[in-house]
Symmetry: C2
Subunit: 217 residues, 2 copies
């Protein structure tokens, strides 16, 4: 009448599924992740996954959440009125780096963070730090969202991503101002990097102007 020993350890766990799915996305891209393929990678049969997740989408969301959770938020810990700008800047760089580490996952990461716990945790951290730095609550909320817009938008819509690598596909006559140089892969990456830097500086400069209006009356 004592408890029978469990027949054996379960083959799967949510953690192991998320981990393996993440590795598969990184290695072969989103379209390589089918329930059957992922299950094979885990040494089980397809339907087994449904004992741990309700849908395939939930698995991908969990993978995205795990990546989001790894983004450094420590710069929002000791923010005071002087360095909110530095904190935002550092966060933007580490966020961008996290996306660059998992390029195939960016389309999943870029859509609404509202359903992912880690996304809300980020919004909460930015909000708290901005309020402590003297921003009005409404503006503090906006800052977290607009920074994310820019960072995920740059990762997803980069010139380099998915560019057709056939120069002859683009007739320069169609784009009088864009030079031939734009069609080269390395040039495209330079554009992405330069646009990110210029945009980030512009955002922070512009926010600083708005901050002065609130903080110096």
């Amino acid at each position: 009448m004592c408890a029978m020993a469990r027949p054996r350890k379960p083959l799967l766990s949510r953690e192991r599924i998320v981990e393996t799915a993440g590795a598969l996305v990184d290695a072969e891209g989103l379209e390589a992740v089918s329930t059957r393929r992922l299950a094979a990678e885990l040494g089980v049969s397809g339907p087994s996954l449904y004992n741990h997740f309700r849908t395939k989408d939930e698995i991908l969301e969990a993978v995205a959440d795990a990546v989001s959770a790894r983004v450094d938020l420590s710069m929002f810990g000791e923010t005071d009125g002087r360095d909110w700008r530095t904190a935002l800047h550092d966060w933007a760089l580490s966020y961008r780096a996290a996306l660059a580490d998992h390029p195939h996952l960016v389309p999943v990461l870029a859509v609404g963070p509202g359903r992912r716990p880690a996304g809300l945790r980020v919004a909460d951290a930015v909000f708290g730090a901005m309020v402590r730095a003297g921003w009005p609550p409404a503006q503090a909320t906006h800052i977290g969202a607009l920074m994310r817009y820019f960072i995920t938008g740059s990762a997803l819509g980069s010139f380099a991503r998915g560019f057709v690598d056939d120069a002859t596909a683009y007739d320069p006559a169609d784009y009088p101002h864009l030079g031939q140089a734009h069609l080269l892969a390395e040039r495209r990456q330079q554009v992405d990097e330069g646009a990110f830097e210029t945009g980030l500086r512009a955002l922070l400069d512009g926010l600083s102007l708005q901050y002065e209006r609130y903080a110096s009356p």
Copy 2:
């Protein structure tokens, strides 16, 4: 020996396929567009589409291109050194409105514009106008890209999009700074709108600061 009359008019054309696919995406979302379903909508059988497009992806790209091509670029026509900022602002609003008109297509529109003719045409128009307004060429290129990052990022990553509409799914204890109000649908939309306005102003303000450094030596 004179040319025989063509048996009859072709049932399909690229234009008709793109038009019908666009209507189907708008009405029922991206996942409703299968080759079989789209073909049924057109009154033909699935494989017929492959006489006009090489893949289903090419059809969706063409739909996205058609939407991009409808974004107003006239504000870049008569830009001089004084109103590059107004032109960028107006373009941002009309771009955002175009995305809001086709929310289901945003994930397609947000990825690399490099492979779509209309995307390059936009980049070209912005570049030309910025150079005429006095921006150095490298900065002019960056401006087109960074504005697009922000606009598409805000459309794709909006708080309102795909938010789980079950308030009980979020325990306020997990997000000490975010109030209960954030969980309401109307509040989320307000956040999106406010964040877009704040971000757009910050970007333009920040770019104005950089412009002064180039234009007033």
